[in-house]
Subunit: 210 residues, 4 copies
Amino acid sequence: MQQVSSLVKTDRLVYFLAMPNATRRSERSRQAILTAALDLVEEAGYARTSIEGIAARAGVGKQTIYRWWPSKGAVLLDALLLPSEGDEGVEPLPDTGDLAADLKHVLRATVDELRNPRYDGPMRALATEILHDPALHVQWSERIDGPLTEIREVRLRSAQAAGELPADLDLALAIDLIWGPLFHRWLQGSGPLTAEFADAVVDSALDGLR
Amino acid sequence: MQQVSSLVKTDRLVYFLAMPNATRRSERSRQAILTAALDLVEEAGYARTSIEGIAARAGVGKQTIYRWWPSKGAVLLDALLLPSEGDEGVEPLPDTGDLAADLKHVLRATVDELRNPRYDGPMRALATEILHDPALHVQWSERIDGPLTEIREVRLRSAQAAGELPADLDLALAIDLIWGPLFHRWLQGSGPLTAEFADAVVDSALDGLR
Amino acid sequence: MQQVSSLVKTDRLVYFLAMPNATRRSERSRQAILTAALDLVEEAGYARTSIEGIAARAGVGKQTIYRWWPSKGAVLLDALLLPSEGDEGVEPLPDTGDLAADLKHVLRATVDELRNPRYDGPMRALATEILHDPALHVQWSERIDGPLTEIREVRLRSAQAAGELPADLDLALAIDLIWGPLFHRWLQGSGPLTAEFADAVVDSALDGLR
Amino acid sequence: MQQVSSLVKTDRLVYFLAMPNATRRSERSRQAILTAALDLVEEAGYARTSIEGIAARAGVGKQTIYRWWPSKGAVLLDALLLPSEGDEGVEPLPDTGDLAADLKHVLRATVDELRNPRYDGPMRALATEILHDPALHVQWSERIDGPLTEIREVRLRSAQAAGELPADLDLALAIDLIWGPLFHRWLQGSGPLTAEFADAVVDSALDGLR
DNA sequence: AGTTAAGCGAGACGGTACGTCCGGTCTTGAA
DNA sequence: TTCAAGACCGGACGTACCGTCTCGCTTAACT
């Protein structure tokens, strides 16, 4: 759920094949709905945001939402991806040859995004909603988590090739070890979520606590 | 949110002072409600569990729930603490002198608890509910997260005293680094949650990825 | 509250102007609600009839009742008017030229209606409900009591023109004197409510007790 | 329901025989309950007056009400009789030898009582409640309506003896004819309830409309 | 250019659950 | 034993939304 704003919708086509004739779709309404959804979640919180409320705020009939999205969470997922809509793919992680520096750069950016109230709320909501909604979890995995994992693994493999990391390192474990602490502090509030924390996580993860 | 079942209610007194006359409270109803809540969450999931449903299953008036708990999440929090109700305090982490071994023991136990369907569901629900409900977050912090952090810090300080960890180590960071990956994998499903994973997390956190 | 079944809704237009878009209203639901209301009041009495119960019996959502009626009494008022719904206006009282005979005819009919269990219960309920609910009282006055008073006055004026009643008679007083005793006996149970009683009331009211 | 304030409880004994040991009864609580009931009905109306509310206002436990009265209406009935509690019996109607004058006197007094907001509300409530509550109806008949009918019949019989009324007059009919119009206008609001109206009713009832 | 079928706004519909109020019963401790 | 206090089970309240549906209107695509 980090750097979401640079993701793209990778599977628009497949998504739309199961849908009504998308060519007739009102772009005006789509934008209004996604914007209204973000606004309401920011103002009132996810739990107090209803589809009825989104429709009213967007000046749209309820059916127009139900026609294009299966759930409130799905609307929000699209809303989060709104800024990165025109992008061609996920921007890869920086690769300057210095793994620690690159990771610190990325984690600092993530910290910034998590502290932006416009995205923090919806992302918290999504992160929790996918626990209860399998269909949403699939969307989340394919369109957000998958691409993020992909570019992270790319960077880590590059580090392995450069000898910065062991060749036999379990990449999934490495990702949990680097991004897990950030995630934990974000959701649990176990401490301040700062750039310094991001740096310390990277150093500790790479070199160990002792 | 791990090893919850060995926690105690640390602040019963304060809690009850703000409540209706607790001496007249029906212990029978209280037990029935907490049990029904766990049952329903296990059977149908948190989202499909309603207060009305809990009351019906417990054979209790709705008002009896509203009288003693402010929200569905608060009921669940008490329900999770039900097994540890008589305990005098939180059991401290094991301290054999071998930090890595002790942590592996603890994380394996946590993994077991997270895979127990009776507790996984409610704990997922709570972990997400506290993101939206500040009052619940306070309860969570005071009654679950705080005590857990406490015993973890105790064990880490002991390791510092024994020279196993640097004396100037940021303990909050250390906790995030050790328990964060577990938490991440639990909620994000980024990989299998196994005893082997627990072991690998401990080793990597202590010695670093490289 | 007599001869209700021959009344019409005199102010449909005004009534609907203040309502939700009435053109989309489900006639099926409306009928089901009114019928269920009458059934339940007949079976269980007004006090034990709940809006929830009406909705359940009618196979209708509660909101559908609350959308179109402000109170249980209002539903019942419409329910009482259901049989006369298509009528063009209130049927005038008979005018054969013999006031006493005509009034006896009318009062006997009223006695019959008040003894019909399907209407007696709801009408008792309404007659009492309007004492506590001003909005309902207005509806009652406009749609039931007003038209009834109107046709009674017409008949009495005709009698004045025919010289059967003094030209300066206070018509409101006359109506109270003729229908009041019936009303009193109906609600107070001060004696049997029979055709003979109706006849005696007419004779006594017209000629005096002494 | 007229001149209630001069009635007495005619059957205290019988009433109490079915009750808990009345000797222990707290007179202070009884007074407080009856007063609170009248107050609340006057302030908020009968429908919005709850037994719970009466208990709270009277500073009394709910059980104390349920112990001594079977229903809200029964409380109100006692409350209405509170002022006449010490009386020995119902005061007979005046008998000056002039029936019309005496009846006008009585009906004017009744009009005054019906216009007193402290009694109008409760009496309306009772008049309607007895329609739905048979047990209350019995109490009403025995303790209010019966005695009133009694003294009215006494006066009418006196008039028969004096030749002011036919010897074969149906007294129940006569009572309906005299008091019915008042009752009708009171509950239906079919016109102003004034002393003039009372006079006109007496004249018309005695001499006929024509 | 006219026809037609979709998407659209609006919002009524059958439902479920909410959180509250109160009914009538039961229990506790003080007087 | 009564009382004030108030917890208890239960049922109904009136409201908020759910997801589905139907109505006319608008609008784009294909005659």
